[in-house]
Amino acid sequence: MAEVDEASKPLFAGLSDVSISEDIPVEGEITVPVGSPSHDDEYSTLDEPVKETILRDLKAVGKKFGHVMYPKKSTTLLRDWDLWGPLLLCVTLALMLQGGSADSKEDGGPQFAEVFVIIWFGSVIITLNSKLLGGTISFFQSLCVLGYCILPLTVAMIVCRLVLLGGTGTASFIVRFIVVVVSFGWSTFASTAFLADSQPPNRKALVVYPVFLFYFVISWMILTFSPSHSDGATDTGP
């Protein structure tokens, strides 16, 4: 009989017959059962102190720096990409390339905007190139890897500026040359270690070559940086 009832009546047909008398209080507490407290915390980070938020991002950036300095095939850089590190490195490098011969009226070293444009525009073009050749890496992941691998070159820039404080003779040039070459090799090796797996196997060289060219240009800018102060300008006196 119940089945006949269910089959013949439309759904919820009986609800309209229900009436609530005023005697029965309809009140209470409706609480939504929460799953687990930690699950909730991951999505609402609004309540945490600002220091924690900043430190979390800084730790992520620092961890990625560590991965770049000791490159081994890992997917951390790729999986949790962020662009804070590249921005920081790019701004540092561009600032340190100032204060050179750019003070003079002739054309000298690259301006801040030029360095910025070269690094970002160059990264975008290399990413597009790798995607057009059939790479499976995503756009921002590739930007992230290329930006983070500028770290050795930034370290080389700092070292070069320190060496230049000591003079601009041939010895300092040789030291700077060696430092820049080593960091250029390191950068290229680190970025290929991260990018190599996502490329089709018979096109790896086609993808790696533009990366090589990109870091070569940045190394050239670092190596040719010459300070404008007159104490180290020329080798021979007036």
Partner: protein, 313 residues
């Protein structure tokens, strides 16, 4: 019918004339949407030629993009139209980068060692023009010229007290503008000119815009080692390098474009080929003159130094 040499032929009837017209229309279409239609006759299926001359890893290539090969097989059988992506999708542009490492290296080798019997376009590119080569060869050339120019100026002015070394970064922009305009605008003009002549003169050999860009791009490769050799501050070494590079890359261009214009009036054919050669020479000599200072043998005080910085006293 020989596949090695293309001889001009008279049309034996309406059918051949129709087929010729179809091939011209196909070339227009192939410019907009690559490989949408194969010209019905006259153009041999060059994949066979390419497979014979390239390395036996063509199997690897066919495995890598077997779907495209399957498509092209079907197209050759049916001689019909193939679906291709619209120009605002990413896949449309991926078709221009469908090259493997060994293919790019083969094309570079072909551009450096031209042989009169081997038409660069027909041998290496006809089945698959790419944009990878032209773009990155131009980029490398820009930086090679800028960096070599900088080094050579430094070496030339070494020891002169007024000369203050400067990286001269502006020159990179100038070099980039010059080389990229040459590699892209001159092919555009040449393509337009050849299309116009094709409409007036019955000509079987016609190149699509991408193929002309490819030839120009790959022919610029020889200038990269030439730019590096220009660092040597000896004038006659530089001039010999310029001449050798110009001869090699110029001959690639001449061998490619002569079959396209030789059916035309004698004067127009000669004028076209001379224009191609003169522009090429102008690029080489212009780059050498602008970026590389001549080695000076006079006393440093007499010749005005190029970059003089106002000294802070």
């Amino acid at each position: 019918m020989t596949q090695q040499r293309r001889k001009p032929r008279a049309f034996k009837g309406q059918q051949q004339l129709r087929e010729w017209r179809l091939s011209v229309i196909c070339n227009f279409k192939n410019l907009m949407m690559p490989k949408t239609c194969l010209p019905p006759t006259g153009m041999p299926p060059l994949s066979a030629l390419e497979i014979r001359t390239s390395k036996p890893t063509s199997q690897r290539r066919s495995l890598g993009n077997w779907s495209r090969n399957a498509d092209s097989d079907k197209t050759e059988l049916l001689a019909g139209q193939r679906k291709s992506a619209a120009f605002w999708t990413f896949e449309y542009y991926q078709a221009f980068f469908d090259v493997d490492t060994y293919q790019v290296l083969d094309r570079i080798k072909g551009s450096v060692l031209p042989l009169p019997s081997k038409n660069f376009v027909r041998l290496y590119i006809r089945s698959n023009p790419d944009l990878y080569g032209p773009f990155w060869i131009c980029a490398t050339l820009v930086f090679a010229i800028a960096v070599s120019g900088n080094i050579s100026n430094f070496l030339v002015h070494l020891g002169q007290p007024q000369y203050h070394y400067m990286p001269e970064f502006r020159k990179v922009t100038i070099a980039a503008t010059a080389i990229y305009s040459y590699a892209w605008l001159v092919p555009l003009a040449l393509w337009g000119f050849l299309m116009w002549r094709n409409s007036k003169v019955m000509n079987i050999v016609s190149y699509s815009f991408l193929e002309i860009v490819c030839v120009y791009g790959y022919s610029l490769f020889i200038y990269i080692p030439a730019a590096i050799l220009w660092i040597i501050p000896i004038e006659w070494v530089r001039w010999i390098t310029v001449l050798v590079a110009m001869c090699l890359s110029g001959s690639v261009l001449v061998i490619t474009f002569w079959p396209a214009v030789r059916d035309d009036h004698r004067r127009i054919a000669i004028a076209t080929i001379s224009a191609v050669i003169i522009l090429h020479a102008l690029l080489a000599v212009g780059c050498k003159a602008y970026f590389f200072d001549a080695p000076q043998i006079e006393v440093p005080g007499v010749s005005g130094s190029i970059a003089s910085v106002p000294r802070f006293c």
